[in-house]
């Protein structure tokens, strides 16, 4: 071990293991994480050996990431089989194994776990869960989630893809009427998945009932050939995330059974009668869950960046602070501390906020399922702004860490450029940050209008305190 790092570790004033237990959420959680890591390391050569990804072509990168993903997710499947009932365990798996992905460029199976499964679990009825959930859990089928279209992003009411019910055959006809209606960006959709949850405008008896979710088979389960009427492919090279296999898909009057509409909430009866959801807002649960996972992800990415920059800054020596002295560790320069120590503080701050968001999500999600919608707006606003701020900060602090490592930090082998590509991508996916902050502002303005008409929910309670007469 480098001598400077030995010295740094010797002068640390606290017990590092105590802090590790705290960060993991307890000694047992640390042991569970170590267990998962041991499983990973049992496949060390297959997962971490070979030519570095950056020297591979786009196609080879995908093929290599698929090879690794199969190894990694076989392990994940085994771990999950032992703990498949607990949402916290599921989230831990996502945050612990998936986001600490073995690839610097993401994984083609990511969307299956992060979007396809949570959305399916929250929107599929019992029959549908019986039919598909087990297969999805053990990866007999692999799915993606297609909402965004080439010409339509966050504004989902503007989506153009249609699902028109035909009562004579009890089927939906899925159709992409224009180029702009092609689904664009879903991870794994390019060449990996054989199923997909598709969001489309539901038409029945000549009436539009708004956007709903449908499970659609995209490729043959045996040959993996795209099914008739489906035009599917990969969207090409991006700034990062190039192993995620983001894809596009278009439908040319593709027929799917009525029972493929996810019908836990709203339904289409055999004769085409539309049965409205008792509470259309219940579908928000899965969206919020995804944003919670993104906040945890941001913490993980930033933890990597600060680990790299801090250790490097202890090893790297540059310039003399005073004449005649040996070159100093760059961590001794205050400008370097400004870049790194604030990033460390930011990482800890976001970790605590991710935990708070997770706890709040669980409390409010339980209330929602009991029919209490009182805090839904608050949860949505909180998840929106914390997703926005955690990804923005993670990206900004990661870039500061890269700058703290000078030219060496520009090397892909430092893992700082790929980490920056991942963090900056998260500023736009699952809700562009500007749009999310506007949604938070909408909630805040509504709250402000009602400030005198009753008690406020916990996260905006402060507005009452600081606006009290004579306060400010």
């Amino acid at each position: 071990v480098n001598k400077d790092l030995i010295k740094e570790r010797a002068k640390c004033t606290f017990n590092v293991t105590e802090l590790t237990y705290f960060l993991d959420g307890g000694k047992e959680k640390t042991f569970e994480r170590k267990e998962r890591e041991r499983a990973l390391l049992s496949k060390r050569e297959e997962l971490f050996g070979g030519t570095p990804d950056e020297y591979l072509s786009h196609k080879e990168k995908y093929e290599n990431s698929m090879r690794k993903a199969v190894i990694l997710f076989s392990l994940l499947r085994k771990i999950q089989e032992a703990n498949n009932t607990d949402l916290t365990n599921y989230r831990n798996l996502l945050s612990g194994v998936l986001s600490a992905s073995i690839s610097q460029d993401g994984s083609p199976f990511g969307l299956h776990y992060i979007m396809f499964m949570p959305v399916f679990m929250s929107q599929a009825d019992e029959e549908q869960q019986k039919k598909w959930l087990h297969r999805a859990l053990n990866c007999s089928i692999i799915g993606s989630y297609a909402q965004t279209e080439l010409g339509h992003g966050t504004f989902i009411r503007g989506l153009e893809t249609t699902a028109t019910y035909d009562p004579s055959t009890q089927e939906f006809v899925l159709h992409s009427p224009t180029l702009t209606s092609y689904k664009w960006w879903p991870g794994g959709l390019g060449n990996t998945v054989n199923y997909c949850i598709v969001i489309a405008q539901l038409y029945s008896k000549g009436e539009c009932h708004g956007v709903h979710s449908f499970i659609v088979q995209v490729r043959d389960e045996d040959t993996h050939m795209p099914l008739p009427g489906i035009k599917v492919g990969e969207i090409g090279v991006k700034m990062g995330l190039n192993a995620v296999n983001n894809g596009f898909i278009g439908f040319d009057n593709v027929r799917i059974p009525r029972t493929n509409m996810l019908m836990k909430h709203a339904k289409i009866l055999e004769d085409g009668t539309y049965v409205k959801s008792k509470n259309s807002k219940l579908i928000y649960g899965a969206m919020v869950f995804v944003r919670v996972v993104i906040v945890f992800d941001s913490v993980n990415y930033l933890a990597k960046a600060i680990t790299v920059a801090t250790r490097y800054s202890a090893v790297r020596r540059q310039s003399q602070l005073k004449e005649g002295e040996p070159e100093r560790q760059i961590l001794d320069y205050v400008t370097q501390q400004d870049k790194i120590l604030t990033a460390i503080a930011g990482c800890f701050a976001m970790k605590m906020n991710a935990r708070m968001l997770w706890d709040t999500f669980n409390v409010i999600n339980d209330q929602l399922h009991q029919g209490n919608m009182e805090r839904l707006g608050e949860l949505h606003a909180l998840a929106c702004c914390l997703k926005a701020i955690s990804t923005t900060d993670s990206s900004m602090f990661t870039e500061r860490c890269r700058l703290a490592c000078g030219g060496h930090g520009y090397m892909v082998s430092s893992n700082l450029p790929p980490t920056y590509a991942l963090t900056t991508a998260s500023c736009t996916y699952e809700g562009d940050n500007t749009v999310l902050l506007l949604q938070t502002a909408r909630f805040l303005l509504k709250t402000w209008r009602q400030i005198d008409s009753g008690p406020l929910t916990p996260t905006v309670q402060y507005l009452k305190t600081v606006s009290a007469p004579g306060f400010s």
Binding site: T13, I306, V308, Q337, A388, L438
Partner: protein, 192 residues
């Protein structure tokens, strides 16, 4: 209300900034709508300020959650660890106060003298946390295989790893690259 250069004071400051921005946005919306602008156009016109209000609200939440939850957690921590965690919370609060100084000067009673003290406190905190920097990141306990970094491995063999990675470049697989004979040599010899 009087400005305080403490973590609680900074949190209060951010809460005031958030409240004032929200209130200002609503006033602006109302006056634009009253003067005949549609609700949607009024919203679009002030959307930069709305985003800023959303961000300030979130900053207030992030700092106060960090402070409150860490204060609770510190009660069950050993004294040396609790001390470092307290320093991190304060560093974070002061950092964002200095980053958003414009907002604080506009909406709170912070003074120039307070700002000078905050800057000095910031530098003092950096000095205090410096000896524990490596320990703080070691605590994340990210194994080298997942960190995947030539600069950040636990053993600190930075230069050796950088060179090992450089040698993996396919351009180092042969002493002379074929492009020399195909392109460079004819060009250098004026044959192109």
């Amino acid at each position: 209300y009087k400005w305080e250069n403490s973590v609680e004071g900074i949190i209060r400051g951010f809460q005031i900034v958030s409240m004032r921005k929200i209130s200002s946005c609503l006033d602006l919306m109302t006056s634009k709508v009253m003067s005949g602008m549609s609700q949607a156009d009024a919203w679009n016109t002030i959307s930069i300020q709305l985003v800023s209000a959303g961000e300030s609200h979130c900053r207030a939440i992030v700092i106060s959650t960090f402070h409150e939850d860490m204060s609770k957690a510190m009660k069950s921590m050993s004294a040396p660890l609790a001390e470092v965690m307290g320093q991190l919370v304060e560093l974070y609060a002061v950092y964002w106060a200095l980053e958003r100084l414009g907002d604080l000067l506009e909406y709170t009673s912070i003074s120039g003298a307070d700002v000078v003290k905050l800057r000095s406190r910031y530098e003092e905190l950096l000095r205090k946390i410096r000896p524990n920097a490596v320990g703080l990141v070691d605590a994340f306990d990210i194994i080298d295989e997942l960190l995947q970094s030539s600069l950040g491995a636990y053993d600190g063999r930075v230069y050796e790893r950088l060179m090992e990675e450089a040698l993996k470049s396919p351009l180092n697989a042969e002493p002379v690259n074929q492009s020399f004979h195909k392109y460079l040599k004819p060009f250098m010899q004026g044959k192109l």
